[in-house]
Structures are given as structure tokens and as C-alpha cells.
């Protein structure tokens, strides 16, 4: 049986010599999809604006009662809220929080889900059964129900929302990774690594996980959109992000009492959410098409 590391290196160098490694093919396929590129462009613009928000659109330090509830105009493009804050500025600052929560919570979910799925798939037997029943348990309580209960009982803060969103979003990834690991662990290169007496951890990290990561990348991209939606719902209920921090959901929450005479306070944050989540979904779909050789768009 040949050394798996040598085989992998040989395959890679040969593929790169002719310029068609799987990653090159995937990149080309992704770049060729207009919808995915549009999504990516939107996300890049949003991320840059969110990062630069304090510099390009600093918030007024105090309320501005003279300019409260102004409809959209040349001065205030998206209008002002009850306290005279410019909605566009609020949206840019809210983007920082909403995106941060989305990325960090999915980071937790992917790490936890990958670990649980990999251990379950590799160890098998009672470890697998126990972990998968835990997955079933977490899948049985609707995410929002758990979020509302935890946020109301423990008090809400950005860090708590990140942790709870992470702890309620890992199950899909765990199932995905487990399925992949079950398939990959029977492949020849893994059997070879076992025969060579490598430790299970090394086999998992070096020989199995790199082969199961592509669907995880897709799931993570789609998961960020879902996390942003869940945060918005929680903040809309008054159980999410709390002032002086702001998020898109919180702006909607603060505008709902004025909805009929100042529609712009609730309308624009929602549009921001739709565009952002849509962009993540477009990029996720594009990645799936690009990374899955069986999937022909």
C-alpha cells in the first residue's frame, strides 16, 4: 500500500502542473456564476462600509429633537428616527453588530458541529449513538423558542446571543460532517493511515477532515444568513441587542410604535436584512455549485 501523503503530493503537483487542481476548477466555476459574484460584491461592500462606519458616519453623541421623525430627504437619505438619529448611520453601525453576531455564532456552530460530527462518525457505536441522540434533542426544540427562553432568563448581551445562536445552530453541521466522515473513513488512504499505526486524532485531522470540509463551507455561509435572521427576530422581541449598541432587529423594534407615521424606521433595516441574507444565500449557492463536482447548475 502506498504512502497516502506521497500520493496526495503527487496528485497535487500533477494537477497544478496542468493548472486544473480541484480548487482551480472550483474557483473558475464560482467566478463564472453571475449571481454568486453579485452576492459576493454586495457582501464586500457591506463589510467595508461596516468596518469604516465609525469614520465615515460617526453617530451623534446626543439626541437631536429638532430633526426627529424626518422622512427620507436629500439631507437624511433614509430619514431619521424618534430621537433624531439618521437611519442610514444607524444601519451602518447596526451592520457591524449584525454581521459580527452572524460570523461569530456560525464560527461556534461550525467548530462544535464539526467536532461532534467527526467524533461521532469516526468513533461509531455508542459514542455515535449518544451524540446523535443529543443532536436529535437539540433539533426538537425550535431555535427561537430556546433563544427566547435563554435570553429572557439570563438577560441579553451580544456575547450571550452569539453563544446561544452558536449552541443552537451546530446540529445540521454535525449531521453533515458525520455522514461525510462515515464515507471517507472507509477510503483507501484512511485505511492506509490506520495500517501505518497513526493515532486516531491525526487520522481525523490530517486525512479525513480536509476531505469533508467543502459542504461545511457551504453550510456555514448559509448559516450566517440564518443567524442574522434569528438575531433580528430576537432583537425585535426586545430580547436581543440592547441600547446603546444597535442592530438591524433593534432598529425595527424601536420603530414599530411609530410604524404608521414613520414607516422608514421599520422598512429600511428590513431591506438591509433581506439584501444581506440574500447575498449570503447567493454566495452559499454559488459555492455549492462550484465545490460539488456532481452538481451541475
Amino acid at each position: 500500500m502506498s504512502d497516502p501523503a506521497r500520493v496526495a503530493t503527487a496528485v497535487e503537483s500533477r494537477a497544478s502542473a496542468i493548472g486544473t487542481s480541484p480548487w482551480t476548477i472550483a474557483r473558475r466555476r464560482f467566478l463564472g456564476r453571475r449571481q454568486a459574484m453579485a452576492g459576493l460584491a454586495l457582501l464586500v461592500i457591506l463589510a467595508v462600509l461596516a468596518l469604516l462606519a465609525p469614520a465615515i458616519a460617526p453617530m451623534n453623541p446626543s439626541v437631536d429633537l429638532v430633526n426627529r421623525l424626518r422622512p427620507p430627504s436629500a439631507v437624511h437619505w433614509l430619514g431619521t428616527d424618534d430621537a433624531g438619529y439618521d437611519i442610514l448611520r444607524l444601519l451602518l453601525h447596526g451592520a457591524r453588530v449584525s454581521l459580527l453576531i452572524g460570523f461569530l455564532s456560525v464560527g461556534i456552530a461550525v467548530t462544535l458541529g464539526t467536532t461532534v460530527g467527526a467524533v461521532a462518525g469516526y468513533a461509531g457505536r455508542w459514542v455515535d449513538a449518544g451524540l446523535m441522540r443529543t443532536v436529535d434533542l437539540f433539533l426538537s426544540v425550535p431555535r427561537l423558542v430556546l433563544l427566547i427562553t435563554v435570553a429572557a432568563l439570563f438577560g441579553s448581551s451580544i456575547s450571550l446571543i452569539v453563544v446561544v445562536l452558536g449552541l443552537t445552530g451546530w446540529m445540521g453541521v454535525a449531521r453533515l460532517v458525520r455522514g461525510q466522515v462515515l464515507a471517507v473513513k472507509e477510503r483507501e488512504h484512511v485505511l492506509a493511515a490506520r495500517a501505518l499505526g497513526y493515532r486516531p486524532l491525526r487520522i481525523l485531522l490530517r486525512h479525513i477532515l480536509p476531505n469533508v470540509l467543502t459542504p461545511v463551507i457551504v453550510a456555514a455561509t448559509l448559516g450566517i444568513g440564518n443567524a442574522i435572521l434569528a438575531e433580528a427576530a430576537l432583537s425585535y422581541l426586545g430580547l436581543g441587542v440592547q441600547p446603546p449598541d444597535t442592530s438591524w432587529g433593534l432598529i425595527i423594534y424601536s420603530g414599530q410604535d411609530r410604524m404608521l407615521d414613520a414607516w422608514w424606521i421599520t422598512a429600511f433595516p428590513g431591506i438591509a436584512i433581506v439584501l444581506t441574507v440574500m447575498a449570503f444565500n447567493l454566495v452559499g449557492d454559488g459555492l455549492r455549485d462550484a465545490l460539488d463536482p456532481r452538481h451541475v447548475p
Binding site: L139, S140, I148, A233, A267, V274, V277, L282
Partner: protein
Amino acid sequence: MSVGLLRYAGRRILQAIPLLLGILTLTFLLLHLAPGDPTATYLTDNVSPEVVEQTRERLGLDQPLPVQYARWVTSFATGDFGRSYVGGESEVAELIGAALPNTLLLGLVSLVIIFVVGCWIGVIQAVRQYGISDTTLTIGSLALYSMPGFWLGLMLQIAVSSSWWPDALALPVSGMIDVRSHASMSLLGQGVDVARHLVLPTIGLGLASAAGIARYMRGEMLEVIHQDYIRTARAKGLSERRVIFRHALRNALIPIASLLGLYLPILIGGSVVIEKVFSWPGMGMLLYDSVYARDYPVVMAVTFLFGAIVVAGNLISDLLYAAVDPRIRYE
């Protein structure tokens, strides 16, 4: 129903019992790990420590945690959800009895509508692949799929309340019945009244999910209509309508059946927020109010029932899948 399917159903029901026990344990732990005490939320500050202690004793909160846990589990097993800590200490079962049918009504109507609308849109897209209607519907359903349901609900409320909304299409924007005139209506009138109140919450709750179903359905239909037996059906000279609806749709629907279980938690979870937007008197509102009031028995019962609905939904969906697809073996 075959013996194999019955045996599979029995085994799945048995498997659901530890899951329900797990949900109960998880909720119990969450409630008791939370800082603070439920008595603090509804006993005013000037109540003497003796009264607080008496209340804790009466509610059983002075008992060690394992004892409290054992009491919860045994009473839940016998269907006794206990009494609410607040609001005159009414029976939890009564509160749930009033709220659950409303949530189920909203959830089930939404479920039917999202499957009908979603499948219909998906079929149109697949039949006209890459055409203008496919592209428009793909972008439209992606936007809806990415939209928070509660925000859509708020936008609908703004639209319906605005001056340009036609009077002929006037719809109620909150509640479940017209409180002033519902009691004096005929039975049919009462049904129409509830149906009119259902329109906006159903759209808010279901439209995003319908878009999700459409995305699946398009993919399934595209896979099916390129199969050999569809070509055979066309070659036999069957009308396109018959080919699509009798041959393709029926087979594309099989995997869609398994989505029922997937969408039930989304709808049930979503109803929590939608009920708040539209003041719909269901389980979501009950959960929201009871969590704020730290009304342990109500939170426990509501969370448990939410979990039970999801478990039941998954079970139904798996059985449905096994029943409609002869290739499935009951393992």
C-alpha cells in the same frame, strides 16, 4: 398499511419517549440555572421574608433540585402540567387549552398554504427553466426566503393601514376575532371573521417557507423531468399537462413529503414572533409572557409541547415518506 410500516411506527414512537424526557430535562435545567428566583417577579419588594419563604414552600421551590425534577417528570407523565405561578394561579392545562388550538390553526393553515404555493411555483419554474418567469420567480423566492417573517408582517400592517389600500380588500391587522361583533355573528360569520384575521399572519409566517419549498420543488422537478419515463410518457403522445401533473409531479412530491418535518419547527418557531406582531393569542404569546414573568410551570409546559409537536411532525414526515416511497426500507 403493511406490518413492516406498523412495526417501524411503533419503534419510532418508543424512540420519541427519551427525546421528550430530554426536552423536559433541558428546559428544567435552563430554568433552574438562570439567576434569580421566580417569586421575585411577582411578590412586591415590601413583602416580608416569611411570606416569600411560605410562597417558595407552597410552590415547591424550597425542595432540592432532584426532588423538584422528579415531581415535574411524574406530573408531566400523567398529563398534569400544574398551576401557573401568576395570574390567579390558573391551571396550566387551561391556559394551554386556550392557546394551543390557535397556534395549531395558524401553523396548519400556513403549512397547507406553503406546500401548495411552494410546489406550484416550483413546478412553473422547472417547466419554464431559464425562461423569464423562472428567473423572476427564482430571484423573487430568494428574496422572500431571505426575509424575516416578522418584518414582512409589519410591512403588511403598514400597507393594509395606509390610505391607498382599497376598502374592498380591508383586512384586520391584529387579534384573532373582531371582539366587538364576533359573539353576535352566525357560525359561518364567525368562521369568516377568523379566516379574515388569519390572512396576514399566515402570509407573514408562511411566505418565506413557501419560497424555500419552491427552491426544493424546482430542483426535484428538474431532476424528474429529465428521466427516461417522462420521455416515454411524451413519446406515447400524452398531453404536456398530463405528463407534468400525473407523471412528473407525483414523483417529485415524494422527497418533498420529508420536508414536512423540517418546516414544522420553522413554522412553530416563527409563530412565536408572528403571534407577537399580530397579537395572535397562541402558544408563542403565552411563552413570551410566561418567560418574562418567570412562570416556570407555563414555560416548561409550552417548551415541552413545542418539542412534542416537532417530534410528532418528524415522525409523521418519516412515516409519510416511508409510506409513499416503496424503495424505503424500515430500518
